[in-house]
Structure formats: C-alpha cells, structure tokens
Subunit: 193 residues, 2 copies
C-alpha cells in the first residue's frame, strides 16, 4: 500500500528528493494562500503550482489539513528568520530594531502578511491563530517579562497587533497611499508612543 523511497535518482539521494518535493509543495501552497486566499488551497491546485502530481502530495502529507498546518509553520519560520537576529539582549530597553524588522517583514512580503494576519481569521487556518498571536506577543514583550501575567500589557499587545494588522493589510490593498518608509515609521511610532 505504502510506497517506499530508497534509491538515488539523477544524482540526488532519496531523502533529498523527498524533502525537496515537500518544500516545493509548501512553498507553492504558501504562495497561493497569500495571494488567492486559504480557500484556494486544494490538492490539485497546489500540485499544479509545485509542478508535481497528487502522488507526491500524499507522500509528504496525509491530508490537506496537514499541508495547511505546514504552511502556517513555514510562515512563522519565515518571520522568525527575519526577526530573530534583532532579538534584543539588553532587558528593559525598547526593542526598536526588532520591531522594525517585524513590521518590515509584514510590509515587504504581502503573502506573509496575508497568511499570518488575514487568512487566520476564519476558515481552514483559524485553528492556528492562537499560536501566531502568542508568538507575536512573546516577541513584542520586553525580554524577561511575561505579558500574559499583566492584563494591561496584554491589552496593549493585542491592540498593537490589531493596529499593525489592519494598517498593513490596508496598505497592501492600496487603501493607504504612502511610501513604505512612512508606513514603517508611523507604525513604530505608534508602538512606542
């Protein structure tokens, strides 16, 4: 029933081919979700975009839901990659650089913004919303503190995410006519208030 991959092919090892195919699928799905919306995620649709066939979809994912989960993981990973180098080390100080990286990532990559901020509000990706918000809150908080403990801080964190989300998405859709730099500046200004 199951099909096992063992031999090298075209100079590439079995595991490399396998992970490469998986990555192609996730990347294609991320692109689709970020442009056409999570509702456009379908097995056939993703395979076409990835240049593979269903056969290999089920090699890496037991179901469509598993791919959706992987897409969110990929989005969070992409965000972390851009933001982690700026994680502040000195406690107490405002994480200005980190914040700029965070905002910049969402402003530069429309797919990332849509997947993380918009598409998680309902539909197939909504189960992952908690996870994303938690990651964002944990990152935004001053290092060493627990924002979940302080209601006031938690409130501010949610407000900031909401503001960032709404402005960023509106800007991507052309509702706000302004330079990228101005947007980032306004956003970071609003946050340190």
């Amino acid at each position: 029933m199951e099909y096992q991959v063992t031999m090298p092919f075209k100079g590439v090892s079995a595991v490399d081919r396998r992970t490469d195919r998986r990555n192609r699928l996730v990347e294609a799905a991320f692109e689709i979700a970020g442009t056409e919306g999570a509702g456009a995620l379908g097995v056939g649709r993703v395979c076409l975009a990835a240049g593979l066939t269903k056969r290999y979809f089920y090699e890496s994912f037991a179901s469509l839901a598993e791919l959706q989960s992987a897409v969110v993981d990929q989005a969070i990973a992409a965000m972390s990659e851009r933001v982690d180098p700026f994680r502040p080390t000195t406690p107490g100080g405002p994480p200005q650089a980190w914040l700029e990286a965070f905002v910049g990532a969402l402003v530069d990559d429309e797919c990332l913004a849509r997947v993380l901020l918009a598409e998680t509000h309902g539909g197939a990706l909504s189960p992952f919303r908690h996870q994303i918000i938690d990651v964002a809150i944990a990152g935004m908080a001053p290092p060493g503190s627990d924002p979940q403990a302080d209601l006031r801080a938690l409130l501010v964190a949610y407000a900031q995410i909401g503001t960032l989300s709404e402005l960023c998405l509106a800007w991507h859709q052309g509702q706000l006519t302004m330079e990228r730099a101005t947007l980032v500046e306004s956003l970071t200004d609003l946050f340190v208030r």
Copy 2:
C-alpha cells in the same frame, strides 16, 4: 419556470409571508456565520436552521452569494440601528456616546463582531470588507470632515478599527479575562487618547 405567490394563506398576505421567509433565512444565516463561521454557510444548512426548504431559498435569493451579501447588509443594518441614535450633532466635539454604542454593540453581540470583523478577512465575505470599513470610518470621523482626505486621520481610523477588532474578538474568545465594562472603558480610553 418561476413560481408566483399571490394568494393569502393562514390569514397572512402573500408578500408578508414572502418577506417573513426571507427574514428567517437571513437571520439563520447571520447566526450560523457568527458562530460557525462563513464557511458553514450552505443552502441546506441555512434552510434547516430557518425551518424552510430549498424551494423557498431560491424564492428569495438567486444564489448563495446573494444570501451572503444579504447577511452583511443585515449586520451593517443591525449596527446602524444601535449606533445611529447617538450620532453626534454638534460638530467638533468627540462623539463619546456614539463610540460607546459602537463598541458596546460589538461587545454585546458576538455574532455581529464575528461577521463584521473576523469573517470578512477572507473567504466568501471578503468582498464586503471595504464597505464595512468605510462605514466604520465614516461613523468614527468627526462630523463634517472627510477622513479620506487627511492621511493622518485615515491612518488613525484604521489603527482604531484594528485595535477594536483584535481586542473585541480576543475577548469574545476568552483570551482576555475582564469585565465587559472594563473592556468598553479601555477601548474608549484608547480611542480618545
């Protein structure tokens, strides 16, 4: 092909019955969209909840998309109804009462909040997001001004909607443990800043 309703039935006129059925369908759909999400909107599902059959669905709506549009209209109408009495008449003054009514409506009615704020971010209801945001911005603006003209004001308006949206939805989901009054107060405070 088409079926015409003309005669009274059980003491109710034809048009009354017809509009009553339509209202029942929209109400049921609103409830479903606000609890299970817009993805759960289906012809059969809505008819079951409304106590009607498909036959009468297509009496009032040519397609599922038309019902979705009607649900959004109904949500906007419900909001307007709660908020219009507090529309400020004196220009320049902060519309405190209006703001409280606006926030209160979204805090008191979880369905309303979800339909207007969450489910419009993607999927079937996303085409209506512009409309909703515009209505909100128009209402929040000081009377007599055009927020679309002032970029700074527009930015603040989007930020406020984002904040309200995120906090309100998080509160409904139990992510924020606080009294209703405290939430409304915090929100209105944040807005007049």
